[in-house]
Every structure is written in C-alpha cells, then in structure tokens.
Symmetry: C2
Subunit: 278 residues, 2 copies
C-alpha cells in the first residue's frame, strides 16, 4: 500500500475542476474524482464489496484506520490500494459523503434482467420480491435494500429511468446489502407485474387510500411481490391497477405517512414472520 | 413579505466566514447563519411547526414556491418573513441541507422532564414510550421520532449528553413529528428506567444477542418502554441490566443488523397492533 505524496488538488483536480488524469501510465492508478456510479464507500459497504467475488474492484482508497480493518481483505484479493487522509478521500468523492475512511473504485454489479431472474427461479420455489415505483432518493432505496437483505427478499425491482445509480449513496445506505440482493431494472413496471403473475406471484400494492389495512393480513402467498410508491406521489395508476390487492399500512398516530424504508421494513418483517409460521 | 435585496454573502457572512450581524437594528431581522439549534427546515417540518401554537417562530425564510404553500400559515401567525432564493437559503443554513425552500428561525420546543411527564400521565392510562441509548445520528433520531408519531408512542427518552439538537437535521428527518412527540432528556437512562418501573412500565430492551425473538411476543403490557441502543454499540450494560426483558429482532436474511429507525418502526407497529388487538 503506497502513501499518496502529492496534494489531492494537484493529483485529482485541475484548477478548472476537471479530473487531472494525465499521470504517467503504469506508475499508479489515475485518480480523477470518482463518479457516483463507480464509488463504493462506507466501512460496511466496502467490506461487503470486498467479500463479494463478483464485485470487480479497481482500487481501494483507505485511511490508516480503515486499512487496519479492511487491509487484509484488500491484500487477499490483490487489489491495488492507497493510504489517504480523510480530506483526501473527501476530495476523491468530490462532495460530502460519509465514507468512514473507505472508498473503493469499483464497477457496478452486473444485475439480472427480469426474465433471466424468473427463469433462474426453480419452479414452485417460494420467493418474496419488492418493487419500488419511482422512488428516487438513493438513501431510501439503499435503506429498503438493507431491510430486503435482512428479511430474505430475493430481489428489488425498479424502473430503469427514475432510479438512482446502484453505487455511491445507495450502496452506503444499503450497508453491504447491494452485494446480496439483485436489483432488476425494467422499462415498464406494469408489464413487469404481468410477467410476475405469469410466474405465480401475487402482487400486493401499498396505497394510503386503500380500504383494507395490511395489519389484518395473516397469510402471504408463497410467491409475493410487494409494491411501494414514492412517499409524495404514491403508486402510479397503471402500477396500482396491476396489483392483485391494495393495502394501507395503518398509522394510528398523529403522523399518517411513514418513511418508505420504514414502511418496507414493517412489510418485509411481517412477510418473513408469515413465511416462518406457514 | 419583503424580498431580500442584498447578496447573501454581504448580508450573512463577513469575508472571514463569521456572521455579519451588524445591520441597522429595527429595520429587518438580522440574518447570521442560523445555528442548528434554531433552524427548522423542510416543507413538512416547517408546516407542522407553523401549525403548533407552542412553537415560537421568529422569522420565516421562504422561496416563492414554499411561500405559495406556507405563506398563509406564516401570515396567519403574524410571523415576519422574507422571500429568498434557494442559494440564499443554502447560505442561511451555512451547509448542505435539504430545506425544500422553507427555513424557520424558531426556538427549540420546551420539553418536559421525566418526572413532569410521568406526573402528567393519568393513573392507569396505557402508554408506550421509546428510549434511545446514545443514538447520535440526527437522521436516525428524527426517523425514529416520525415512526413514534405514526404509531402513537407517547414520548421519546434520550440521554441529555450524546443526543443531537432537537431541531435542524433531526426535525427535518422527523417530518413534523417533533411537534407531536415530546423528547425527554435525562442525565441517567438506567435511573430513568427505575422511575418508569415505579410508574408501572415494563422495560423491553432490544439486543442482537438476546435469546428470545421479538416476533414471538404476542402481548405488550399496557405501559411499555422500548429501549434501543446505537447500531454499532448496542445497549450499554447498565441500561441493558435495567430492562425487564431483552429481545432480538429476527432478521433471517444475509444482513443481520437493521437500521435503528427500521427496527423501531417494526417494534412500534407491532406494539400498536397488539394494543389494538388487546
């Protein structure tokens, strides 16, 4: 592991803010500001990425503290690395980000398409999935992914447009879950629901206007997809109409709307309980 | 509502970064960078603060869009206000913050002490409370507060040290819930648990090492306090020992630890269900 000698502003940024990627080739990796799509940061996210043999990692940038925790995993995979100070890592990410001393230059994970995923699912095998309809905040999508991994949700389905990149902020909020739960991007969510029904999935949507409360549900189908909308807009019409059933999550208190990741955590927990009981 | 005429950097900040609070007195409010302890921002948080007669608000800083939504409430309370641009609001907050065009200069809400709160609780009245043991991230505390308001948790108890200010980031994440759920700061959480027991509360702690799973609990005492530790450190020994029972939140998947606000949401939801059923 080499210590960076030059000051980050010389190394990574030209005076005009563009990346200065003109370092002599072959001597060390070239460090322009890492784009969101290539950065995996945060101790848990970096640790999980290092433990995932399918994650291609080009370089590890670590503080001394983070190197004490992750250095063995980095060396074990033969990944080139540099020791940096926290401000140097700030500069590398080019923005405020809670990197906890660990930043990986990594490629986004290859993700399956919906058909590929469904074809790979053994016939009759139970599975719970989640679908997010235009949830754009990467913190929220990452937090949903973390709960999905915790409660055995097999995949997250999102629309390819209106979804944040699967790295950076999302991966940090997912706290390692991005390595475990595939994220299936699809052009049209209503059509995806049709495909899921053909494979025996019951499509359960959540809508604050729904008449039935989710808390009254005491059984979840062996194959279920839970469909959540954005906090402000809810489910779009075609997605809502594509659901087999709609439920509200009862909030008896003075605030009626739940944060999307909290709503999803409750649903995944209940589903896991129902599956264990069933 | 007056439009700010001077450029924010002249108005709010001296060249050396200190607030320039030397404007002629009586002409307009003085706008130095708002400290975290006095800022309430975000549309939901500002709207709820404006609707709370107990919240003292000195000044409202709004973009034109936010003024279209909140202007009537501001005028209805006779609160002085200024129209600002989004970058001017950024400068007012002095840091990256998702203000959504609405920033209030407000005083922190007066919060009850533990004895005052308990004395005000009618004898025999059921109540669910939550306690956070050194959860320091204001996003997390705010998100817990939001779920608390959604599921009728009567108060949140925190240690006075090691807790974030009850405004700013916390109030934004709480999405208005800071107006509804009192936050009781106390010097010693273990002693607070003793006081709660004297008032008939059962103290339920969450600990990843606990042998019993929370999902097996099918009844919650009429008076219960749910006790959560920080994600990395868990409950401190004296707090853990002060609990009547310890449960783990089962996460059968590949990630074992839940985000604190997601864990709390699940517990509050289950408790509300148990109370409704009971």
């Amino acid at each position: 592991m080499e210590r960076m000698k030059s000051r980050p502003k010389d190394r990574w940024h030209g005076k005009d803010g563009r990346a200065a990627n003109k370092a002599a080739p072959g001597r060390r990796p070239q460090h322009g500001t890492l784009p969101e799509a290539r950065a995996v940061y945060g101790l848990h996210a970096a640790e999980a990425a290092l433990a995932n043999p399918k994650r291609k990692i080009r370089h590890a940038y670590l503080t001394e503290n983070a190197a004490a925790k992750l250095g063995a995993a980095v060396a074990g995979r033969g990944i080139a690395s540099s020791l940096l100070t926290p401000p140097e890592l700030d500069a590398l990410l080019g923005r405020d980000a809670v990197h906890q001393g660990a930043v990986l230059d990594a490629e986004p994970l290859a993700q399956p398409g919906l058909d590929e995923f469904l074809d790979g699912l053994p016939e009759g095998e139970p599975a719970a999935l989640a679908m997010l309809d235009q949830v754009t905040d990467p913190h929220n999508v990452g937090a949903v992914l973390r709960s999905a991994a915790a409660f055995g949700i097999a995949a997250l389905i999102v629309q390819d447009r209106h979804s944040p990149p699967l790295t950076g902020t999302l991966a940090k909020a997912a706290s390692g879950a991005a390595e475990h739960v595939p994220i299936i991007s699809t052009v049209n969510l209503a059509r995806a629901l049709e495909r899921l029904k053909e494979h025996g999935f019951e499509c359960i949507g959540f809508d604050s206007d729904a008449e039935e409360q989710f808390s009254t549900v005491d059984a979840v189908a062996a194959r279920t997809v839970f469909v959540f909308g954005a906090e402000d807009k809810g489910l779009r019409r075609l997605v809502r109409e594509g659901c087999d059933a709609l439920y509200a999550l009862s909030a008896p208190g003075k605030i009626k709307s739940l944060n999307i990741s909290n709503a999803a955590a409750i649903v995944f927990y209940e589903a896991a309980k129902a599956h264990c009981a069933g």
